[in-house]
Symmetry: D2
Subunit: 338 residues, 4 copies
């Protein structure tokens, strides 16, 4: 950590800052420039986390040198984390595809979806039983009944189940049915929920918040890992920008940044990331080429009858086409196909 | 609602869309242009909320004409809502100021803060007992003990208490101590929490999410109001943009937009909105001039010892100066002073 | 400037960086932490501007401590710059208002506009003779004929004239007619144009680019000042964000940031900043309360016949109302009225 | 075009709007809902471009149904445009790579760069002779001398030359030396420059502005095409967002959106798009997988001695590795390799 003093900071101010740092057991390196004095802090900066350095007289700004997360970082664990979900490895050599409808709407719709995505080569069935919706007047999900349909579909097809949990109270019930717990974008900083899934003992798929920096996203993962659960899958799903041609702006550079700084598996959701089914296929290919370990894709037997996100859902035919294309890219990347 | 068909949409596609709309009991107005056919929908669009119109063959886009919220709109209730919190009116003629530390840190710190802000003319004491923090390693709040200190400060000073509630489980305990429940920016779309405070029977201060559009923010208010609680105070606190000179970009136009479209009171938090104490005073003045009904200001007896947000907290002297300045602006606006 | 080395940087890398810095005549302060080595650079960083420090082996990042601009900074010139345009002082005690139509459309329209804004108390007539438009099929302005109408309006009313110059070639002809040269948002980083107006000897009103940071904006001012022209007026006009309820997001905090770091006058354009005439009045009041030295307002005798930006133009009556309101705020701020 | 009236719009207002539309020779379709009246406009909306519909009394909003550009649209020209630059086809089956240093720094640096990128399989040499720089104190380019070095490198290697033109005056001199004229991001809405290159008779590479929507970008292409020059190459190079881990956010969805709506070739610049050499390779692969027709890559013989953008430039070895990887992806896409 570096503390930059104002151009006109008095010696008294400088001494006071140094005092604050050293009384916590850290060391300082002083660098006096012609205009500006800089105080380098040496040691564990967590010792200073409750000291409001920026509010001290004479301080211009405080520059963090190391990031706030630790357990999620490559410095802490250089090798890739591979998560084993009942035999399906996420983050390993093989591309993993999670697919299914946005929402569980009925037994028939879900079972049909499961058969379609299984046949096309997916490993996971996705589908929301609890739906966070912008308007209180929109369909809010089938809740536990939806979870039961998911479990039934798993029984029949052998697909693993990933589904969203939206509040701490429903973590136990979702754990009964799901193989992977999904934290949605709106809940990325619902810290109570993060801690709860951190104690639940199931792998967690953590979607990036719509306006979260990669650093904040990694800190959210840190909340889960800090409770002892190291099985976290990062899922890029687009960020909010000024562009309106797409629902969100899919930030594929985030895949490359995560792969550089973090050991956790990374998957990409081009359905929410773009919001238009015609853009899902090219962005799925691009995600795999960027180095993603997997994909999450919305598929619906009849998108034009879907109760939510029909616009971005693929038909069975389109999904099959997507699988063929992403497998070619996986092969070009030296990966095993999904 | 208007449904715009593709340039090449077949008559069959057009008929199918019309069928979907009319079978729900709505009427259509057809407008056939040289290139494009447009289908106007007449009637209550809620009847169509589960119909994925955008996924129907031949549909280019669907344009909403009326917004998704209703209870919060001026169309529904033309006159301003005034909320009476034990005699303090929010949204009336008089400017209302809420002030205090970011976090409740100790009994002494809180009581001292309360005396300072009371003396300077504030009506409400603010202070977080539950703190949502980006990193799991940062100070997370004193929890119920913090609430007790807030109640004690109210007892002594007569200030009303506004404090944040971060999850549905703690709503009952916060209700025991607080006069107004605050929903923080990160929880603006924590729908379970919104519904819970909607049933709690206390006024709610709803902060805007860091990347929420005004429309989404009003839909969040709708979640609370839809449970029967019409006492919602909207609080602008800055949005996330590319600019890094300020912590967030305080969007004061949102005050004017809300005043135009919505009947609820609007207050502004320039402390989080700017992130720098030197910018709080001018932005507080600007907020009042833009038409805000009140302000929420971070004040700390000793900002340079604050456990969070010290950088943006005002000293007692600065807060007193702010109160003088905003009162002059209130007067120029024809408002009663705080 | 601070150079942060990688956690694993070799001594050889560190020595090489130090060599690069010292061979340019600068000094270094070395700070070796447990994980990271930091190299503080002491001296004029311009000497290093062509050294790609971030590309050197072992370098994690380079942190600038002082900003890139100098002539525009308060460190360089602590007192406010006041610009005298034929007796009208910008940046002094008195609020200055520039008003008029978006585009000069005809002699009658312009003269009528001039009389209206003069009567209501404006000092400057604004109006575009050269119009940068998103589509090539939109009205592009009357060019020199428009400038002549502006000069005629000045002759009749005594108003000063501010008008946009869109390319280096037309600087001489615009200088013949205008009192202040306006650089539009799209040209904020048209460096050739900035240099040309920097040599033109007329005051320059520099609008902020739609996605420009405050730092980049000040660097654009620096381009003009570096040519010897210190008469630069900064004009905030909204930035591009995700919010769609307003045309742009008016960043009034920028006024306060500029006032803190820069000595140049600052004005605000709430017409482009919001894009809706109903929002112009509250945002004009807020701008003055935030500390702006002046306003730029679009006024049209008949907004519903305007050839551009009619949606955000005020009627004569609305503009008169605005002037009354902003004068009250100016008074509350201890300023002389416009 | 659809005109949505206010809930309370008077019949007089509605009649007036209809009059404005029909007096220009267009037809209307009226749709009267329970709350809102909607006026559909049938015919060529260019006839209405100077009518400020949104400013008319009673108008709530105007919704555009068709986009503002025409020549660039797939509706106008369904088949892909392939541009022939002296035998190198851009937009055809084969992937095209443009590579070289950010700036032309010296004869030796440029010739060495040219040999490196030629050997690795590039078709174009890139390099800036005129450099737009944020600060006036940064290196501004070798100007015509730089162009001469580019021409010499073409002579020696057979590479085509693409280089930036920054103002209308220098278009003729750049045309003497370059095969393709580049318009930089900062000049995407420098309309005078766009018109000038539109008349220059050379292919134009049009970079996306840092905060330009895809629609605005296509309108910028329209400016060039409207002058008769249909040889426009669109180049995505990242947009400005809140994320700071990358220099810009590379918007690869834009490739897919353009391919859907526009017939022009699309290339991607992952060097500026990410700002970090370690991210260039994965993003180059992703761009090709998304469907880009080509890449623009910064390569420098010695990035750590580059006078600009060294941080994002590849070494010769890294560039060779990139070519191998993108060729594999091209193959998986069914494309001919670069």
């Amino acid at each position: 950590m570096i503390i930059v003093m104002n151009a006109g900071a008095a010696q008294m101010d400088i001494d006071r800052v140094i005092g604050k740092v050293t009384e916590r057991g850290l060391k300082v390196h002083l660098s006096e420039g012609r205009f500006v004095t800089i105080i380098g802090v040496v040691g564990d900066k967590k010792l200073l986390q409750d000291v409001p350095l920026e509010a001290l007289a004479g301080v211009e700004k405080v520059v963090a040198i190391t990031s706030g997360y630790k357990l999620a970082s490559r410095q802490f664990k250089p090798e890739n984390t591979v998560i084993d979900v009942g035999g399906v490895l996420i983050g390993g050599d093989r591309l993993v595809v999670m697919a299914g409808p946005c929402a569980v709407e009925s037994r028939e719709q879900l079972l049909e979806s499961a058969r379609i995505v299984k046949k096309a080569g997916a490993d996971f069935l996705r589908g929301g039983a609890y739906k966070p919706r912008t308007s209180p007047y929109s369909f809010q999900g089938l809740e536990e009944q939806g979870l039961k349909f998911l479990a039934e579909a798993r029984e029949e097809t052998g697909l693993k189940v990933v589904t969203e949990v939206v509040d701490p109270q429903s973590v136990p019930v979702v754990c009964e049915y799901a193989d992977v717990l999904q934290i949605g974008a709106r809940n990325m900083q619902n810290f109570h929920l993060l801690k709860t899934v951190g104690r639940a003992g199931k792998p967690v798929l953590l979607k990036r918040g719509i306006a979260a920096t990669i650093d904040e996203w990694l800190n959210a993962a840190e909340y889960i890992m800090n409770e002892g659960n190291y099985q976290v899958i990062m899922c890029e799903r687009g960020i909010r920008t000024f562009e309106t041609a797409t629902r969100n702006t899919l930030d594929l550079s985030a895949v490359a940044v995560l792969k550089k700084n973090c050991h956790l598996p990374v998957i990409v959701d081009p359905s929410h990331g773009t919001g238009h089914w015609k853009l899902v296929r090219p962005m799925a290919r691009a995600a795999v080429a960027a180095g993603a370990d997997g994909l999450m894709i919305e598929v619906h037997p009849k998108p034009d009858e879907a109760m939510s996100d029909g616009m971005q859902s693929l038909t069975p035919e389109n999904f099959t086409g997507l699988m063929e294309e992403v497998n070619k890219i996986a092969q070009a990347m030296g990966r095993n196909q999904a």
